[in-house]
Amino acid sequence: MTLAPARQPAVRLALAARSMAGLGVMVLAWDLALYMSGAPLLPRPWHVVLGMAELLTRGVLLKHVAASLFRVTWGFLLAVAVAVPLGFLLGRNQRVGKALAPLIHLLRPISPLAWIPIAILWLGVGDPPAIFIIFLASTPPLALAAMNAARNVPQVYVHAGRNFGLGPRELFLRVLLPASVPELLVGLRLTLGIAWLVVVAAEMIAVNSGLGFLIVDSRNAGNRYDLVVAGMVLIGVTGLLLDRAVVRLARGYLRGRDMVGDAS
Protein backbone atom coordinates (compact mmCIF):
# COMPACT_ATOMS: atom_id res chain seq x y z
CA MET A 1 0.00 0.00 0.00
CA THR A 2 2.39 2.69 -1.05
CA LEU A 3 1.43 5.83 -2.84
CA ALA A 4 2.26 5.23 -6.46
CA PRO A 5 2.77 8.10 -8.86
CA ALA A 6 -0.22 8.80 -11.09
CA ARG A 7 -0.18 6.34 -13.97
CA GLN A 8 -0.40 6.84 -17.70
CA PRO A 9 -3.96 6.77 -19.11
CA ALA A 10 -3.30 3.64 -21.19
CA VAL A 11 -1.93 1.80 -18.18
CA ARG A 12 -4.88 2.92 -16.09
CA LEU A 13 -7.29 1.66 -18.70
CA ALA A 14 -5.57 -1.72 -18.78
CA LEU A 15 -5.66 -1.92 -14.99
CA ALA A 16 -9.33 -0.94 -14.91
CA ALA A 17 -10.10 -3.60 -17.53
CA ARG A 18 -8.32 -6.19 -15.43
CA SER A 19 -10.28 -5.38 -12.26
CA MET A 20 -13.50 -5.35 -14.31
CA ALA A 21 -12.62 -8.80 -15.59
CA GLY A 22 -12.27 -10.05 -12.01
CA LEU A 23 -15.66 -8.60 -11.16
CA GLY A 24 -17.21 -10.15 -14.28
CA VAL A 25 -15.92 -13.60 -13.39
CA MET A 26 -17.35 -13.29 -9.89
CA VAL A 27 -20.79 -12.21 -11.12
CA LEU A 28 -20.77 -15.06 -13.60
CA ALA A 29 -19.86 -17.58 -10.89
CA TRP A 30 -22.62 -16.17 -8.68
CA ASP A 31 -25.19 -16.55 -11.42
CA LEU A 32 -24.00 -20.01 -12.38
CA ALA A 33 -24.05 -21.23 -8.79
CA LEU A 34 -27.63 -20.12 -8.29
CA TYR A 35 -28.70 -21.50 -11.67
CA MET A 36 -27.30 -24.91 -10.86
CA SER A 37 -28.40 -25.10 -7.22
CA GLY A 38 -31.78 -23.53 -7.75
CA ALA A 39 -31.76 -21.99 -4.28
CA PRO A 40 -35.17 -20.39 -3.86
CA LEU A 41 -34.72 -17.06 -2.09
CA LEU A 42 -31.33 -15.88 -3.23
CA PRO A 43 -31.41 -13.33 -6.04
CA ARG A 44 -29.43 -13.72 -9.24
CA PRO A 45 -27.35 -10.77 -10.47
CA TRP A 46 -30.02 -9.68 -12.88
CA HIS A 47 -32.64 -9.51 -10.11
CA VAL A 48 -30.32 -7.28 -8.15
CA VAL A 49 -29.97 -4.92 -11.09
CA LEU A 50 -33.75 -4.81 -11.39
CA GLY A 51 -34.04 -4.27 -7.65
CA MET A 52 -31.63 -1.39 -7.89
CA ALA A 53 -33.71 0.09 -10.73
CA GLU A 54 -36.81 -0.29 -8.61
CA LEU A 55 -35.18 1.59 -5.73
CA LEU A 56 -34.17 4.28 -8.15
CA THR A 57 -37.66 4.70 -9.63
CA ARG A 58 -39.21 4.70 -6.16
CA GLY A 59 -36.79 7.51 -5.39
CA VAL A 60 -35.39 5.88 -2.27
CA LEU A 61 -31.96 4.80 -3.52
CA LEU A 62 -30.32 8.20 -3.19
CA LYS A 63 -32.26 8.87 0.00
CA HIS A 64 -30.77 5.82 1.71
CA VAL A 65 -27.25 6.50 0.46
CA ALA A 66 -27.50 10.13 1.52
CA ALA A 67 -28.84 9.18 4.96
CA SER A 68 -25.91 6.84 5.54
CA LEU A 69 -23.39 9.36 4.24
CA PHE A 70 -24.89 12.05 6.46
CA ARG A 71 -24.38 9.93 9.58
CA VAL A 72 -20.88 8.88 8.58
CA THR A 73 -19.88 12.44 7.84
CA TRP A 74 -21.00 13.73 11.22
CA GLY A 75 -19.72 10.78 13.22
CA PHE A 76 -16.40 10.89 11.43
CA LEU A 77 -15.96 14.67 11.69
CA LEU A 78 -16.75 14.59 15.39
CA ALA A 79 -14.19 11.83 15.79
CA VAL A 80 -11.58 13.85 13.87
CA ALA A 81 -12.25 16.90 16.02
CA VAL A 82 -11.74 14.91 19.20
CA ALA A 83 -9.23 12.24 18.21
CA VAL A 84 -6.62 14.28 16.34
CA PRO A 85 -5.95 16.81 19.12
CA LEU A 86 -6.23 14.04 21.70
CA GLY A 87 -3.80 11.86 19.75
CA PHE A 88 -1.27 14.69 19.52
CA LEU A 89 -1.57 15.31 23.22
CA LEU A 90 -1.04 11.61 23.92
CA GLY A 91 1.89 11.43 21.53
CA ARG A 92 3.74 14.54 22.62
CA ASN A 93 3.02 14.66 26.33
CA GLN A 94 4.45 11.63 28.07
CA ARG A 95 2.46 12.07 31.25
CA VAL A 96 -0.88 12.38 29.49
CA GLY A 97 0.11 9.55 27.17
CA LYS A 98 0.93 7.21 30.02
CA ALA A 99 -2.30 8.10 31.81
CA LEU A 100 -4.72 7.84 28.91
CA ALA A 101 -3.28 5.40 26.39
CA PRO A 102 -4.30 2.30 28.40
CA LEU A 103 -7.87 3.58 28.49
CA ILE A 104 -7.96 3.92 24.72
CA HIS A 105 -6.43 0.50 24.27
CA LEU A 106 -9.10 -0.86 26.57
CA LEU A 107 -11.96 0.82 24.70
CA ARG A 108 -10.75 -0.16 21.27
CA PRO A 109 -11.55 -3.90 21.34
CA ILE A 110 -15.11 -3.23 22.51
CA SER A 111 -17.19 -3.58 19.39
CA PRO A 112 -19.06 -0.37 18.68
CA LEU A 113 -22.16 -2.50 18.34
CA ALA A 114 -21.91 -3.32 22.01
CA TRP A 115 -22.63 0.36 22.62
CA ILE A 116 -25.95 0.25 20.79
CA PRO A 117 -28.11 -0.36 23.89
CA ILE A 118 -26.41 2.46 25.78
CA ALA A 119 -26.56 4.74 22.76
CA ILE A 120 -30.30 4.19 22.50
CA LEU A 121 -30.73 4.63 26.23
CA TRP A 122 -28.91 7.97 26.16
CA LEU A 123 -29.92 9.36 22.82
CA GLY A 124 -33.15 7.61 21.91
CA VAL A 125 -33.71 6.59 18.31
CA GLY A 126 -32.92 8.34 15.04
CA ASP A 127 -29.69 9.94 13.87
CA PRO A 128 -28.03 10.80 17.21
CA PRO A 129 -27.38 7.24 18.43
CA ALA A 130 -26.14 6.18 14.99
CA ILE A 131 -23.80 9.16 14.80
CA PHE A 132 -22.69 8.51 18.35
CA ILE A 133 -21.80 4.93 17.52
CA ILE A 134 -19.80 5.97 14.46
CA PHE A 135 -18.04 8.52 16.60
CA LEU A 136 -17.26 5.89 19.23
CA ALA A 137 -15.97 3.44 16.68
CA SER A 138 -13.81 6.01 14.88
CA THR A 139 -12.25 7.81 17.82
CA PRO A 140 -9.92 5.19 19.35
CA PRO A 141 -8.22 4.06 16.12
CA LEU A 142 -7.87 7.64 14.94
CA ALA A 143 -6.52 8.82 18.29
CA LEU A 144 -3.95 6.02 18.27
CA ALA A 145 -2.99 6.82 14.67
CA ALA A 146 -2.59 10.50 15.55
CA MET A 147 -0.60 9.56 18.64
CA ASN A 148 1.82 7.48 16.63
CA ALA A 149 2.02 10.10 13.92
CA ALA A 150 2.88 12.73 16.52
CA ARG A 151 5.45 10.47 18.15
CA ASN A 152 7.09 9.67 14.86
CA VAL A 153 7.78 13.29 13.96
CA PRO A 154 11.57 13.32 13.70
CA GLN A 155 13.19 15.08 16.63
CA VAL A 156 15.25 17.24 14.28
CA TYR A 157 12.10 18.98 13.00
CA VAL A 158 11.00 19.71 16.54
CA HIS A 159 14.46 20.99 17.45
CA ALA A 160 14.59 23.12 14.32
CA GLY A 161 11.16 24.57 15.11
CA ARG A 162 12.15 25.41 18.68
CA ASN A 163 15.45 26.80 17.47
CA PHE A 164 13.54 29.29 15.32
CA GLY A 165 11.73 30.42 18.42
CA LEU A 166 8.35 28.72 18.03
CA GLY A 167 6.15 28.43 21.10
CA PRO A 168 3.99 25.34 21.75
CA ARG A 169 1.06 26.51 19.63
CA GLU A 170 3.16 27.50 16.64
CA LEU A 171 5.24 24.37 16.99
CA PHE A 172 2.05 22.32 16.72
CA LEU A 173 0.65 24.21 13.74
CA ARG A 174 3.85 24.77 11.77
CA VAL A 175 5.90 21.66 12.55
CA LEU A 176 4.13 18.79 14.31
CA LEU A 177 0.93 18.89 12.27
CA PRO A 178 2.45 19.20 8.78
CA ALA A 179 5.19 16.72 9.62
CA SER A 180 2.67 14.08 10.64
CA VAL A 181 0.20 14.59 7.81
CA PRO A 182 1.32 11.54 5.80
CA GLU A 183 0.81 9.18 8.71
CA LEU A 184 -2.34 10.98 9.77
CA LEU A 185 -3.83 10.50 6.31
CA VAL A 186 -3.36 6.76 6.61
CA GLY A 187 -5.18 6.83 9.93
CA LEU A 188 -7.99 8.94 8.47
CA ARG A 189 -8.39 6.57 5.59
CA LEU A 190 -8.57 3.46 7.76
CA THR A 191 -10.92 5.18 10.17
CA LEU A 192 -13.28 6.30 7.45
CA GLY A 193 -13.46 2.66 6.41
CA ILE A 194 -14.38 1.71 9.95
CA ALA A 195 -16.98 4.48 10.14
CA TRP A 196 -18.62 3.21 6.99
CA LEU A 197 -18.63 -0.36 8.31
CA VAL A 198 -20.29 0.77 11.48
CA VAL A 199 -22.96 3.04 10.04
CA VAL A 200 -24.59 0.13 8.31
CA ALA A 201 -24.64 -1.92 11.47
CA ALA A 202 -25.98 1.02 13.49
CA GLU A 203 -28.75 1.60 10.98
CA MET A 204 -30.00 -1.93 11.40
CA ILE A 205 -31.24 -1.00 14.84
CA ALA A 206 -32.26 2.52 15.57
CA VAL A 207 -33.33 4.30 12.40
CA ASN A 208 -35.68 4.07 9.43
CA SER A 209 -33.43 5.19 6.62
CA GLY A 210 -29.99 4.40 5.31
CA LEU A 211 -28.45 1.40 3.63
CA GLY A 212 -28.39 -0.69 6.80
CA PHE A 213 -32.10 -0.03 7.28
CA LEU A 214 -32.75 -0.85 3.62
CA ILE A 215 -31.22 -4.28 4.09
CA VAL A 216 -33.08 -5.18 7.27
CA ASP A 217 -36.34 -3.69 6.04
CA SER A 218 -36.21 -5.49 2.70
CA ARG A 219 -35.83 -8.81 4.44
CA ASN A 220 -38.55 -8.13 6.97
CA ALA A 221 -40.99 -6.79 4.39
CA GLY A 222 -41.50 -9.88 2.30
CA ASN A 223 -38.06 -11.43 1.99
CA ARG A 224 -36.97 -9.09 -0.80
CA TYR A 225 -33.49 -10.58 -1.06
CA ASP A 226 -32.92 -8.82 -4.38
CA LEU A 227 -33.11 -5.54 -2.47
CA VAL A 228 -30.96 -6.94 0.34
CA VAL A 229 -28.18 -7.68 -2.10
CA ALA A 230 -28.77 -4.40 -3.91
CA GLY A 231 -28.17 -2.70 -0.55
CA MET A 232 -24.99 -4.69 -0.08
CA VAL A 233 -23.73 -3.68 -3.51
CA LEU A 234 -24.50 -0.04 -2.77
CA ILE A 235 -22.58 -0.25 0.51
CA GLY A 236 -19.59 -1.70 -1.30
CA VAL A 237 -19.63 0.85 -4.09
CA THR A 238 -20.14 3.84 -1.80
CA GLY A 239 -17.39 2.65 0.54
CA LEU A 240 -15.04 2.22 -2.38
CA LEU A 241 -15.80 5.71 -3.67
CA LEU A 242 -15.24 7.21 -0.22
CA ASP A 243 -11.88 5.48 0.01
CA ARG A 244 -10.88 6.62 -3.46
CA ALA A 245 -11.81 10.18 -2.56
CA VAL A 246 -9.53 10.15 0.48
CA VAL A 247 -6.67 8.65 -1.51
CA ARG A 248 -7.11 11.32 -4.15
CA LEU A 249 -6.98 14.08 -1.58
CA ALA A 250 -3.95 12.49 0.05
CA ARG A 251 -2.14 12.09 -3.23
CA GLY A 252 -2.83 15.70 -4.15
CA TYR A 253 -1.34 16.87 -0.89
CA LEU A 254 1.65 14.56 -0.78
CA ARG A 255 2.68 14.98 -4.38
CA GLY A 256 6.19 16.36 -4.67
CA ARG A 257 6.72 16.49 -0.93
CA ASP A 258 8.46 13.14 -0.70
CA MET A 259 6.22 12.40 2.22
CA VAL A 260 5.01 9.13 0.89
CA GLY A 261 1.99 8.12 2.86
CA ASP A 262 0.60 4.67 3.19
CA ALA A 263 -2.24 5.19 0.76
CA SER A 264 -2.95 3.65 -2.61
Binding site: H159, N163, F164, G165, R174, V181, G256
Partner: protein
Protein backbone atom coordinates in the same frame (compact mmCIF):
# COMPACT_ATOMS: atom_id res chain seq x y z
CA UNK B 1 26.64 22.33 -12.69
CA UNK B 2 25.35 24.91 -10.30
CA UNK B 3 27.66 23.88 -7.50
CA UNK B 4 30.68 23.86 -9.79
CA UNK B 5 29.96 27.39 -10.84
CA UNK B 6 29.56 28.40 -7.25
CA UNK B 7 32.82 26.73 -6.35
CA UNK B 8 34.69 28.45 -9.18
CA UNK B 9 33.35 31.79 -8.17
CA UNK B 10 34.49 31.15 -4.63
CA UNK B 11 37.99 30.27 -5.74
CA UNK B 12 38.43 33.61 -7.36
CA UNK B 13 36.48 35.81 -5.08
CA UNK B 14 36.73 34.30 -1.63
CA UNK B 15 38.24 36.86 0.66
CA UNK B 16 40.63 35.49 3.20
CA UNK B 17 39.14 35.54 6.68
CA UNK B 18 41.58 36.92 9.13
CA UNK B 19 42.10 35.04 12.37
CA UNK B 20 40.09 36.85 15.00
CA UNK B 21 41.87 38.61 17.78
CA UNK B 22 42.09 36.70 21.04
CA UNK B 23 42.03 39.84 23.11
CA UNK B 24 38.27 40.43 22.96
CA UNK B 25 36.00 38.80 25.56
CA UNK B 26 34.80 35.30 24.78
CA UNK B 27 31.64 34.98 22.67
CA UNK B 28 31.01 31.54 24.08
CA UNK B 29 32.40 30.15 27.26
CA UNK B 30 31.82 26.65 28.53
CA UNK B 31 32.80 26.15 32.14
CA UNK B 32 33.01 22.93 34.14
CA UNK B 33 30.38 21.29 32.02
CA UNK B 34 29.41 17.77 33.01
CA UNK B 35 26.55 15.72 31.61
CA UNK B 36 25.45 12.38 33.00
CA UNK B 37 22.63 10.21 31.75
CA UNK B 38 20.91 7.59 33.88
CA UNK B 39 21.59 4.16 32.40
CA UNK B 40 20.31 0.99 34.05
CA UNK B 41 20.08 2.56 37.49
CA UNK B 42 23.55 4.09 37.42
CA UNK B 43 24.77 7.34 35.93
CA UNK B 44 26.90 7.29 32.85
CA UNK B 45 29.13 10.31 32.45
CA UNK B 46 28.87 11.47 28.88
CA UNK B 47 30.80 14.71 29.25
CA UNK B 48 33.21 15.47 32.04
CA UNK B 49 34.48 18.87 33.11
CA UNK B 50 34.46 20.55 29.72
CA UNK B 51 36.07 23.97 29.60
CA UNK B 52 36.64 25.98 26.48
CA UNK B 53 36.07 29.36 24.97
CA UNK B 54 35.24 30.60 21.55
CA UNK B 55 35.69 34.16 20.36
CA UNK B 56 33.50 36.29 18.16
CA UNK B 57 34.01 35.39 14.52
CA UNK B 58 35.95 32.22 15.19
CA UNK B 59 35.38 28.92 13.47
CA UNK B 60 35.99 26.18 16.01
CA UNK B 61 35.77 22.48 15.23
CA UNK B 62 34.89 19.91 17.87
CA UNK B 63 36.71 16.83 16.65
CA UNK B 64 36.52 13.37 18.13
CA UNK B 65 35.62 9.74 17.62
CA UNK B 66 31.97 8.75 17.68
CA UNK B 67 30.74 8.39 21.24
CA UNK B 68 32.95 11.14 22.64
CA UNK B 69 29.94 13.31 23.37
CA UNK B 70 30.72 16.05 20.87
CA UNK B 71 27.14 16.14 19.59
CA UNK B 72 25.86 16.10 23.16
CA UNK B 73 28.13 19.05 23.89
CA UNK B 74 26.73 20.92 20.92
CA UNK B 75 23.18 20.12 22.07
CA UNK B 76 23.94 21.58 25.48
CA UNK B 77 25.47 24.68 23.92
CA UNK B 78 22.43 24.93 21.64
CA UNK B 79 20.12 24.87 24.67
CA UNK B 80 18.39 21.58 23.78
CA UNK B 81 19.87 19.73 26.74
CA UNK B 82 20.43 20.86 30.31
CA UNK B 83 23.89 20.14 31.69
CA UNK B 84 24.15 18.18 34.92
CA UNK B 85 26.82 20.57 36.16
CA UNK B 86 28.57 23.66 34.90
CA UNK B 87 27.26 26.24 32.53
CA UNK B 88 27.37 27.71 29.06
CA UNK B 89 27.66 31.47 28.72
CA UNK B 90 27.11 33.34 25.49
CA UNK B 91 27.97 37.05 25.55
CA UNK B 92 28.14 36.61 29.30
CA UNK B 93 24.56 35.31 29.70
CA UNK B 94 23.74 31.70 30.56
CA UNK B 95 22.03 29.62 27.88
CA UNK B 96 18.58 28.52 29.01
CA UNK B 97 17.10 27.16 25.81
CA UNK B 98 17.25 27.26 22.04
CA UNK B 99 17.45 30.76 20.61
CA UNK B 100 16.98 32.09 17.05
CA UNK B 101 20.19 34.08 17.43
CA UNK B 102 22.06 30.79 17.30
CA UNK B 103 20.90 28.31 14.73
CA UNK B 104 21.63 24.63 14.61
CA UNK B 105 22.30 23.11 11.21
CA UNK B 106 21.65 19.40 11.18
CA UNK B 107 22.53 17.02 8.41
CA UNK B 108 20.41 17.79 5.38
CA UNK B 109 17.54 15.82 6.94
CA UNK B 110 16.74 18.94 8.98
CA UNK B 111 14.95 20.74 6.13
CA UNK B 112 11.15 20.56 6.24
CA UNK B 113 9.91 18.27 3.45
CA UNK B 114 6.44 19.83 3.45
CA UNK B 115 7.76 23.26 2.54
CA UNK B 116 9.32 24.47 -0.68
CA UNK B 117 12.80 25.98 -0.85
CA UNK B 118 11.25 29.41 -0.33
CA UNK B 119 9.07 28.14 2.48
CA UNK B 120 12.03 26.62 4.26
CA UNK B 121 14.23 29.69 3.97
CA UNK B 122 11.37 31.94 5.09
CA UNK B 123 10.43 29.66 7.99
CA UNK B 124 12.22 31.60 10.72
CA UNK B 125 11.28 35.08 9.50
CA UNK B 126 7.49 34.88 9.41
CA UNK B 127 7.29 37.89 11.71
CA UNK B 128 8.88 40.18 9.10
CA UNK B 129 6.74 42.22 6.68
CA UNK B 130 6.02 40.23 3.51
CA UNK B 131 8.15 42.38 1.24
CA UNK B 132 11.20 42.26 3.46
CA UNK B 133 10.74 38.54 3.89
CA UNK B 134 10.54 38.04 0.15
CA UNK B 135 13.74 40.01 -0.39
CA UNK B 136 15.60 38.15 2.29
CA UNK B 137 14.50 34.78 0.95
CA UNK B 138 15.59 35.81 -2.55
CA UNK B 139 18.94 36.97 -1.21
CA UNK B 140 19.70 33.67 0.47
CA UNK B 141 18.32 31.60 -2.41
CA UNK B 142 20.88 33.40 -4.53
CA UNK B 143 23.68 33.09 -2.01
CA UNK B 144 23.45 29.31 -1.72
CA UNK B 145 22.96 28.81 -5.45
CA UNK B 146 19.36 27.59 -5.42
CA UNK B 147 17.97 30.06 -7.94
CA UNK B 148 15.46 28.34 -10.20
CA UNK B 149 14.53 25.95 -7.39
CA UNK B 150 12.49 28.36 -5.27
CA UNK B 151 9.28 26.38 -5.74
CA UNK B 152 10.91 22.96 -5.48
CA UNK B 153 10.32 20.67 -2.53
CA UNK B 154 13.37 19.20 -0.79
CA UNK B 155 12.56 15.81 -2.31
CA UNK B 156 13.48 17.25 -5.68
CA UNK B 157 16.89 18.44 -4.49
CA UNK B 158 20.20 16.62 -4.21
CA UNK B 159 21.81 16.05 -0.83
CA UNK B 160 24.19 18.96 -1.30
CA UNK B 161 21.36 21.29 -2.31
CA UNK B 162 19.35 20.28 0.74
CA UNK B 163 22.34 21.05 2.91
CA UNK B 164 22.73 24.47 1.30
CA UNK B 165 19.04 25.03 1.83
CA UNK B 166 19.40 24.30 5.50
CA UNK B 167 22.31 26.69 5.81
CA UNK B 168 20.28 29.35 3.98
CA UNK B 169 17.31 28.78 6.33
CA UNK B 170 19.65 29.29 9.26
CA UNK B 171 21.30 32.41 7.85
CA UNK B 172 17.97 34.00 6.89
CA UNK B 173 17.12 34.75 10.52
CA UNK B 174 20.40 36.65 10.90
CA UNK B 175 21.92 34.59 13.71
CA UNK B 176 25.27 35.51 15.20
CA UNK B 177 26.30 31.92 15.71
CA UNK B 178 25.90 28.75 13.69
CA UNK B 179 26.16 25.26 15.14
CA UNK B 180 26.87 22.60 12.57
CA UNK B 181 26.48 19.01 13.71
CA UNK B 182 28.35 16.79 11.25
CA UNK B 183 26.38 18.71 8.71
CA UNK B 184 28.29 17.48 5.69
CA UNK B 185 28.78 13.94 6.97
CA UNK B 186 26.18 12.28 4.76
CA UNK B 187 27.38 13.83 1.50
CA UNK B 188 29.79 12.51 -1.07
CA UNK B 189 33.43 13.58 -1.08
CA UNK B 190 33.21 16.18 -3.83
CA UNK B 191 30.01 17.77 -2.58
CA UNK B 192 31.46 17.88 0.91
CA UNK B 193 34.57 19.57 -0.39
CA UNK B 194 32.56 22.19 -2.27
CA UNK B 195 30.33 22.87 0.70
CA UNK B 196 33.32 23.44 2.97
CA UNK B 197 34.58 26.03 0.54
CA UNK B 198 31.19 27.66 0.42
CA UNK B 199 30.97 27.61 4.19
CA UNK B 200 34.33 29.39 4.44
CA UNK B 201 33.06 31.93 1.96
CA UNK B 202 29.88 32.51 3.98
CA UNK B 203 31.92 32.73 7.14
CA UNK B 204 34.14 35.36 5.56
CA UNK B 205 31.27 37.45 4.22
CA UNK B 206 28.76 37.09 7.07
CA UNK B 207 31.23 37.04 9.98
CA UNK B 208 29.39 34.46 12.02
CA UNK B 209 30.86 32.56 14.92
CA UNK B 210 30.76 28.92 13.92
CA UNK B 211 30.97 25.75 15.96
CA UNK B 212 31.39 22.71 13.79
CA UNK B 213 31.15 19.17 15.15
CA UNK B 214 32.91 16.59 13.03
CA UNK B 215 34.75 13.31 13.15
CA UNK B 216 36.57 14.16 9.94
CA UNK B 217 40.15 15.29 10.52
CA UNK B 218 40.51 16.83 7.07
CA UNK B 219 37.32 18.77 7.58
CA UNK B 220 38.62 20.23 10.80
CA UNK B 221 42.03 21.18 9.37
CA UNK B 222 40.44 22.74 6.31
CA UNK B 223 37.92 24.79 8.24
CA UNK B 224 38.93 25.64 11.76
CA UNK B 225 40.84 28.39 13.47
CA UNK B 226 41.00 25.99 16.35
CA UNK B 227 40.32 22.31 16.74
CA UNK B 228 39.05 21.06 20.08
CA UNK B 229 40.08 17.42 20.15
CA UNK B 230 37.83 15.27 22.30
CA UNK B 231 38.30 11.82 23.76
CA UNK B 232 35.64 9.28 24.66
CA UNK B 233 34.41 7.52 27.81
CA UNK B 234 33.96 9.85 29.46
CA UNK B 235 33.79 12.60 26.86
CA UNK B 236 36.43 15.19 27.64
CA UNK B 237 38.70 17.66 25.94
CA UNK B 238 42.02 16.10 25.15
CA UNK B 239 43.76 19.02 23.50
CA UNK B 240 43.10 22.23 21.68
CA UNK B 241 45.07 22.73 18.48
CA UNK B 242 45.32 26.16 16.85
CA UNK B 243 45.46 25.85 13.08
CA UNK B 244 47.65 28.69 11.97
CA UNK B 245 47.16 28.47 8.21
CA UNK B 246 45.90 31.14 5.84
CA UNK B 247 42.64 30.60 3.93
CA UNK B 248 41.93 29.18 1.43
CA UNK B 249 43.98 26.29 2.66
CA UNK B 250 46.22 24.30 0.40
CA UNK B 251 45.40 20.72 1.32
CA UNK B 252 48.66 19.36 -0.03
CA UNK B 253 51.02 21.84 1.59
CA UNK B 254 53.57 20.54 4.07
CA UNK B 255 52.12 22.60 6.92
CA UNK B 256 48.59 21.38 6.24
CA UNK B 257 49.84 17.82 6.34
CA UNK B 258 51.72 18.43 9.58
CA UNK B 259 48.53 19.60 11.26
CA UNK B 260 46.75 16.63 9.85
CA UNK B 261 49.39 14.26 11.21
CA UNK B 262 49.26 15.98 14.56
CA UNK B 263 45.52 15.43 14.81
CA UNK B 264 45.81 11.86 13.61
CA UNK B 265 48.26 11.29 16.40
CA UNK B 266 45.97 12.93 18.95
CA UNK B 267 43.23 10.54 17.95
CA UNK B 268 45.59 7.59 18.13
CA UNK B 269 45.37 6.95 14.42
CA UNK B 270 48.90 7.85 13.41
CA UNK B 271 50.97 5.35 11.47
CA UNK B 272 52.98 3.26 13.92
CA UNK B 273 56.69 3.67 13.37
Amino acid sequence: MRSQNAAKRLDVAAPTPSPPSQAQPAKLSVAGLTVTFPVDGTHRTVLEAIDFECHEGELVCLLGPSGCGKSTLLNVIGGFLKPTQGQVLIDGAPVTGPDPRRIFVFQERGVFPWLTVEGNIGFGIQHLPAEERRQRVAHYVEMVGLRGFERAYPAELSGGMKQRLEVARALAVGPDMLYLDESFGALDYITRHNLRRELLHLWATERKTILFVTHDIDESVQLANRVVVMAARPGRIQRVVDIDLPYPRDISSARYLRYRDELLEELGLAHQR
